[in-house]
């Protein structure tokens, strides 16, 4: 009602105390493809659907999960191009940290800096918020960590989380199946089952992407063949 008059300008609060553009950005995220992450006792797994607009698209050229440093990776729900920009900025920040302190950036620091970038775009003139929510998975001296970053710039640490289209079903499913001492292999199976819940069509190694980081602290995106193996195990 009164809100709609304030929905055009990002940098103006509405009378109810909301920044309507950010709400709309969250809606953009909510209509993006489902992605989820699970923190295990000895690692983290992140996964996403990879539904391409047509069978003619070369699916090997699309990579939704990206690594930011050798031990931190990220997946998104929402607008792909916005994600690319954030990945580029985050990688540069991680590299600058490394040059200054000669150590790999801790996961919390990178998440904080990425969130700061996303917040900047909610308080500047002439720009719009990023239409993505990120799930950042990493393993550093504090152990395995999973963070979600929203378009507003707020971030939370999660044991397991989901974003995108099927978020409420996925979260309920995860709540039921999550245990604190789950191991990485079981977590991968749980991730696949959660994706399967809301998946339209036949699930295979070519239309989902999974990445893990274990105690070796190396972020690894699984190949379609490896995903097919896990799918066979789950059946």
């Amino acid at each position: 009602m009164g809100d709609s008059q304030y929905s055009f300008s990002l940098t103006t609060f509405s009378p109810s105390g909301k920044l309507v553009q950010i709400e709309h950005a969250l809606t953009a995220v909510g209509s993006g493809q489902t992605s989820l992450g699970i923190k295990a006792s000895n690692g983290v797994v992140i996964a996403t659907e990879k539904k391409l607009p047509s069978i003619l698209v070369d699916e090997a050229s699309v990579q939704k999960i990206q690594s930011l440093t050798p031990n931190i990776g990220v997946v998104y729900s929402g607008m792909g191009p916005d994600f690319r920009v954030l990945v580029r900025k985050s990688r540069k920040q991680a590299e600058q940290y490394h040059r200054l302190y000669k150590e790999q950036i801790p996961v919390t620091q990178l998440v904080r800096e990425t969130a700061a970038v996303m917040q900047e775009f909610t308080q500047s003139g002439g720009v719009r918020p990023f239409g993505v929510s990120l799930l950042v998975a990493g393993y550093d001296d504090k152990g395995p960590q999973l963070y979600q970053v929203d378009p507003s710039g707020s971030y939370f640490s999660w044991k397991a989380s989901a974003m995108g289209k099927n978020v409420s079903n996925a979260k309920t499913f995860l709540e039921k199946r999550y245990t604190d001492d789950v191991e990485l292999e079981d977590a991968i199976h749980t991730a696949i089952l959660t994706l399967k819940e809301g998946f339209e069509g036949q699930i295979s190694g070519k239309n989902i992407e999974i990445a893990t980081i274990g105690e070796d602290r190396k972020f690894k995106v699984l190949t379609p063949a490896e995903i097919d193996d896990y799918l066979a195990e789950v059946e």
Binding site: S67, L68, R88, R91, K92, E95, Q96, H98, R99
Partner: protein
């Protein structure tokens, strides 16, 4: 050099506008230094690596070698420094000249190569590192005193280049740089041939560095070698130590004769923190 791109210009009431530098190098001090040395003022001695660095291409890849002495004027300030710098998993760079310059230039380009690898998803090429280095050095017109031997193996094969402080480069099958380069080049010119295998290559590189170590005052101490082949690298730190310390005392510290040790008490520096579980339970 993390320069800010935003300029904040404050207008003070005395109408002198003070604009902070825009970022990047400011050449004002170079002019001042030239003016001072023209008036006979000696500039302070900075740490140079006065070095012997070499590289050669052998049948499977590239071998780089360096000595380990760093000098500050006539004084040896580091007897075992590292002159072979990491650029990429398949590219290493030896540096001669001012130690700070070689360190920071190779560090900076290594960082840029890492970002480029993330962006392209491919292994870095030696020619990329070469171009980034020479562009940077040319921009500073030789004021960055870094003479480099860059070597590596990428998808197009093994490559070896030399880079001079002003930004010119050479592509060679064998190369030497630094104050000991003449001594090392003499060894290469007489003994290098194409198609060397790994042992012969390492032996030749070690000989060339030793020639620099023993015949040049600016080079000394030990020999570092780095072998880079397709898909793997071997960094042999202190591969050869031809200058060991001749006398090292085996005794620990002893008090002078007249002092008797009455008691010994060792206090650990870290005290264990005691967590006191105190307080009553919260009232419901």
């Amino acid at each position: 050099m993390f320069g800010f791109s935003s300029l904040v210009v404050r207008m003070s009431s005395s109408s002198i506008v003070e604009a902070p530098p825009k970022g990047g190098f400011s050449f004002d001090l170079c002019k001042r230094n030239e003016m001072l040395s023209g008036k006979g003022v000696k500039h302070p001695n900075y740490r140079k690596t006065g070095t012997t660095i070499v590289g050669l291409i052998f049948q499977d890849g590239v071998i780089l070698g360096a000595d380990t002495r760093a000098t500050s004027g006539p004084i040896v300030c580091d007897k075992n420094c590292e002159k072979i710098h990491f650029m990429a998993p398949n590219i290493y760079c030896c540096g001669a000249g001012t130690a700070a310059d070689t360190e920071s230039v190779t560090d900076m380009v290594s960082s840029q190569l890492q970002l480029h690898r993330y962006h392209t998803g491919r292994e870095s090429r030696v020619i990329t590192a070469l171009t980034l280095l020479k562009k940077h050095l040319f921009n500073y017109q030789g004021h960055i005193s870094a003479a480099l031997v860059l070597g590596g193996v990428d998808c197009t094969g093994p490559h070896l280049h030399t880079i001079y402080p002003h930004g010119s480069t050479d592509t060679l099958p064998f190369a030497t740089m630094g104050s000991g380069s003449l001594a090392a080049m003499a060894v290469f010119e007489s003994k290098y041939k194409e198609g060397l295998n790994k042992e012969e290559g390492i032996k030749l590189v070690t000989e060339a560095i030793c020639s620099g170590i023993f015949n040049d005052l600016g080079s000394g101490s030990n020999v570092d070698v780095c072998v880079i082949t397709k898909g793997e690298k071997e960094y042999m730190r202190n591969h050869l130590k031809p200058n060991p310390r001749t006398y090292v005392s085996a005794r620990a510290y002893t008090f002078p004769k007249k002092i008797e040790v009455l008691s010994t008490k060792i206090t650990p520096l870290k005290e264990l923190a005691q967590v006191v579980e105190a307080g009553d339970a919260m009232e419901e």
